[in-house]
């Protein structure tokens, strides 16, 4: 039996690099500080030009791809005209050639974030995350409630107001919906909120505890932990919470499922072998295979949008540390104190909770930025993609 398992682990190791080499065509680019592009915010005309310039500067700096410099020494100059709901953006290079010209609409912050993401994608080929939303649990009211905010830490808004327990938020990939675990009924149920309208529905309310819901990359399915069959196990359901399909059959505790970018696989935490370890399973069914991380306590895995890495929480002694597993090599490294990591759309930055703050980490440079604080103990941050 042991031999069989060893073989399976060996076989899955073999399979991973092969699968990745077929799936991911993008070469790995390592960028050091000196590789950053010199960019300048030029003239932003129009009624709210000054405000637009400030938000844009912050977005471009946050991306990690640029050094903001005076226009005279910049390789690229960002300009535009902003009036009301419209922002006409123009990016020119040193020779004066236009490299991007596009009009964005929406309120001032969202049109600027969209412009920033377009600049990042045009100049670097990487997906930007300036337009992403975050959500997290805050406790400053004396109860755990769900909050949402923009990824730059602005527009913080308390979403639930139930004076109950509202925890475990997960944003849909497009940021339009959010699922979370709520105790309004006295039981742990999965609720879904349409962020545009505020409409809320209780979508999973089986007997026992329903928790850990997480959208698949296309938003059509949920992975979720249900205990209705006598033990907390991993299931998938439709986005609306119907047609629960059981994936695991263990005597232990499964928790915190996260999907691969293709939606074909799920990584989750399970204490079936004693302490919580990470496991990988086909979303269509099969056996969960343990991922050896070298750590004893591994929870809250979060798969990067490019499929290459998994961030998770380890407990060493009494404190929590954020760790990153490289799926190609199997290497694990820790990035510092914190818990509940979630990758941003660029697969380079991640957010996590540390005490009373949501922190944004550039996993490439190690640079940390505090996004939100002052809402009591903050936990379980999530990021749209």
């Amino acid at each position: 039996m042991k031999k069989l398992r060893a073989f399976c682990a060996f076989a899955s190791c073999l399979f991973v690099p092969i699968a990745l080499s077929h799936g991911a065509e993008t070469p790995t680019i390592t960028i050091s500080k000196s590789d950053r592009q010199a960019i300048a915010i030029g003239t932003i005309g129009g009624a709210d030009g000054a405000q637009v310039a400030k938000i844009l500067q912050n977005d471009l700096a946050m991306s990690g791809f640029f050094n903001l410099v005076p226009a005279t020494s910049a390789g690229v100059v960002v300009g535009g005209t902003s009036n009301g709901n419209s922002l006409a953006g123009t990016v020119t290079d040193r020779s004066g050639k236009t490299v991007l010209s596009k009009t964005f609409s929406g309120n001032v912050r969202s049109k600027v974030h969209a412009y920033a993401d377009e600049i990042i994608e045009t100049l670097t080929g990487s997906k930007g995350f300036a337009n992403s939303k975050i959500a997290f649990v805050g406790s400053s009211t004396g109860h755990k409630e769900i909050y949402v905010a923009d990824i730059d830490g602005s527009n913080v808004h308390q979403l639930t107001n139930d004076a109950s327990i509202s925890v475990g938020p997960k944003l849909s990939p497009d940021g339009s919906r959010l699922v979370y675990t709520g105790y309004k009924s006295g039981y742990a149920d999965v609720y879904e909120i349409e962020l545009g309208s505020g409409a809320r529905s209780r979508i999973i309310k089986f007997p026992g505890t329903n928790t850990g819901a997480c959208y698949s990359p296309n938003g059509h399915e949920l992975a979720v932990i249900l205990s209705k069959d006598g033990n907390p196990e991993l299931y998938t359901t439709t986005a609306g919470g119907s047609f629960a399909r059981r994936l695991t059959h263990t005597k232990g505790v499964e928790s915190s499922p996260t999907w691969s970018p293709s939606g074909d696989e799920i990584i989750y935490s399970s204490d079936d072998a004693g302490s919580p370890q990470l496991y990988r399973i086909a979303a269509g069914g099969g056996s969960g295979h343990v991922i050896n991380t070298g750590h004893n306590y591994n929870t809250e895995p979060n798969w990067s949008p490019d499929g290459k890495r998994v961030a998770f929480t380890v407990r060493d002694g009494g404190s929590f540390t954020v760790a990153i597993l490289d799926l190609g090599s199997g290497n694990v490294h820790t990035v510092g104190s914190g818990e509940g990591p979630a990758w941003c759309a660029d697969s380079r930055h991640l957010i996590f909770a540390e005490g009373g703050s949501v922190i944004l980490l550039d996993a490439q440079t190690g640079q940390k930025t505090t996004l939100v604080s002052g809402l009591g103990k903050i936990s379980e941050p999530t990021c749209s993609r």
Binding site: R5, K144, G168, K228, G230, N231, T250, T313, R315
Partner: protein, 170 residues
């Protein structure tokens, strides 16, 4: 291909079923590595009763003493068995619905704590069923590390918080 993959699984399920006839209720040996084994001892929960929960006013949460657990464990210690028997006897003598609520100390991550609390509640429910109580009248819920019995930090507070409580629906 599908049948070949399915056959070993079927064999394992059958083996587990025949095993469970003699070891039902006991914890199986730990399965390491890939979970190609199965666990069929859990008893599905009955449908919920609308409007009734562990925290609702029609639930008596002080009738029985909590069952306590070791750190990161859902095993019921021998010293806690007397409490289980007491509740099982009460259940056998009446028709009340019981809600077992599981809790953890603050030292785990939140989602794992919710799972561990549920696992503790389910372990107590299984033990009650083994002791003769009717499982169709026993619900479970987990609050994870929320609603601690002792809001302090330290060994003594944590020991009080790793628990399963009994709510008797009046």
């Amino acid at each position: 291909m599908k049948i070949i993959r399915f056959l070993p699984l079927l064999a394992i399920v059958l083996a587990a079923l025949s095993l469970s006839a003699c070891v039902h209720g006991k914890k199986g040996a730990g399965h390491n590595g890939a979970s190609d084994s199965d666990y069929v001892n859990g008893s599905p929960l009955p449908e919920r009763q609308e409007g009734v929960s562990f925290t609702s006013s029609n639930t008596d949460r002080s009738k029985f003493r909590p069952v306590y657990f070791a750190f990161d464990s859902y095993a019921i210690g021998s010293g806690e068995r007397g409490k289980i028997d007491e509740v099982a006897n009460f259940m056998k003598g009446g028709s009340n619905t019981l809600i077992v609520a599981g809790f953890t100390d603050e030292r785990g991550t939140p989602e794992y704590n919710r799972g561990l609390g549920e696992r503790r509640a389910q372990a107590v429910r299984e033990a009650l069923i083994q002791a003769g109580a009717d499982g169709s009248r026993i619900q479970t819920v987990s609050f994870g590390a929320e609603m601690p019995a002792d809001s302090g930090s330290g060994d003594s507070a944590w020991a009080k918080n790793r628990r399963a409580e009994f709510g008797v629906v009046r």
